[in-house]
Amino acid sequence: MSLIEVTGLNHRYSERAILENINLSVDRGEVLALIGPTGAGKTTLLRIIDLLEIPSAGEIYFDGKCIPRSGKQRLEIRRRMSFIHQKPQVFNLSVYDNVACGLGWRGEERNRIAGKVDHILEMVGLEDYKDRNARTLSGGEAQRVALARSLVLEPEVLLLDEPTANLDPVSTAKIEQLISYVARQRNTTMIMATHDMSQGQQLADRIGVLLDGRLVQTGNTTDIFHSPQNEEVAHFVGMENIMEGVIIANNEGIATVNIGGNTIQVVSSYPVEKEVYACIRPEDITLALASTQSSARNSFQAEVIRVATLGPLSRVEINCGFRLIALVTKISVEELNLQAGKEVYAIFKATGVHIIEKEISQ
């Protein structure tokens, strides 16, 4: 049975809808990542689940029980969860007192508190900072205090709101390590909001995509990244090549799509005349100097328009009758001598193209 269930949730601030008809359930021990751009409603959803806010409509079930909209029971349920906020808010107290406060509020004995706090501070690597005022710490250290403060409570549910936003890569890696350690060792149920898709992919069992207050798609990472349900999700998960087209032939699952006069071969069961979006991840496009004999069904002569280097990878914009963006390694760029005006071949497999049905309303 699911530990947390949200049904028919709607939330609005004055007249603006923040969340619309959210239905979500999370199993015990599951790690769910909520991904979506800033302002999609991730934080509000987490706040409502943590019982910090009362939704305009809808119910929340915790461990099978419907949570009332007011009363003492909310505090009891809230004490079984813990919430790591985006900006780590440490109290103007020593690191030790920061971590100990949640246990104190639950009426835990002093001796037991000391033991637990020492243990958790060691785990997050802050044992030497015990007596420092938490306000004097760096952002990464403060976030570790916040994490320790939550973990020491041994919550059944951990809610994380962009836990690594604004942190440097080293601090981010430490926090991510701790999160995955806790998820594995303690089997803690987690709901994590992030706009960093790779983080979601790395830490979560399941991903929910929140766009404009609507939970557009939930599924495992492969589903979300390779088979987005609609154009919006495709766009958000990094499908940089999204082209409108019409299916003009379908031969036992291998369909031909007409994209503004050019045809590509894709794997799809949609019938002829269906209007679709053809989506290709930029890393699924190979560039070569000759149209090699490969198993890929799609090979187009193209002209390089622009090359932009992003760290170890380069983003190459090409024109092969329609525009495509390919992601290739820096070494490939040098070997192929890619630069604006260069003639190349763009090659991609029929299975590398994801087809989305064009919505009628559009």
Binding site: R47, L75, Q89, G102
Partner: protein, 228 residues
């Protein structure tokens, strides 16, 4: 000019010799104003928290009124308390007019708006995120209030010290309801007023210096706290 000079030297003499009358007056001032400040704090800190953490109609207006009363004239408070405690007044039976207890009451009324207003603004300085963090870590309503008061402890303490400063430096209320009775209700400010009118500038200046000295100590404490 020579009068002031004489006064200054006399003041220093009185202070160095720990003149019994001067010490008695200063001690009474500290006791009365300290008590009124403590009692007012015990009322205003919880009440200010209550106002800050609750949303109700007219909250903004209430805070405006409280802030306006920061500058209530001391003589007006004196008049109000005098009417309240005079023999024919509603609390006249207590018979405490012209005694230190009624001066404590008067000063409490005087500094309550200041303490309330400054407590509310001290608590407003603690961000909503801190409140949310405490709530989500499982603090009950009362535990959250206590944490927020601790977070704002320097600003809250500054408010208390401001209240004490206003209490010990006021003269109108103490004079009207205390009566400036020697050995009973004479405090620093009322003594300065009296000695000045008598032409006893030396004692007046000595008492003035003590009052300023107390203000200086208060300011040093305040600055220390704010620098932390």
């Amino acid at each position: 000019m020579t009068e002031i000079w004489d006064g200054l030297t006399r003041a220093i003499e009185l202070l160095i010799s720990l003149d019994p009358e001067v010490m008695e007056i200063a001690g009474r001032s500290l006791r009365i104003s300290g008590t009124s400040c403590l009692l007012a704090s015990l009322i205003c800190l919880p009440l200010g928290s209550l106002i800050h953490f609750h949303h109700f109609r007219g909250k903004r207006a209430l805070i405006n009124i409280i802030q306006t009363l920061f500058s209530v004239p001391t003589v007006l408070v004196g008049l109000f308390v005098l009417v309240l405690f005079s023999r024919a007044g509603p609390l006249g039976e207590l018979g405490i007019l012209f005694t230190p207890p009624v001066m404590v009451v008067g000063q409490m009324i005087l500094i309550t708006p200041l303490l309330l207003g400054l407590t509310i603004s001290a608590l407003s300085g603690v961000s909503q995120e801190i409140v949310d963090t405490a709530t989500s870590l499982g603090a009950s309503g009362f535990q959250t209030v206590w944490l927020v008061l601790r977070e704002a402890r320097y600003a809250v303490l500054a408010a208390v010290i401001m209240g004490f400063g206003r209490a010990i430096s006021e003269v109108g209320c103490a004079l009207m309801i205390g009566g400036n009775i020697r050995g009973a209700t004479r405090v620093i400010t009322t003594a300065i007023a009296l000695e000045t009118s008598k032409g006893e500038l030396a004692l007046a200046i000595a008492l003035g210096i003590i009052l300023l000295f107390l203000a200086l100590i208060i300011n040093i404490v305040l600055n220390r706290l704010q620098q932390r």
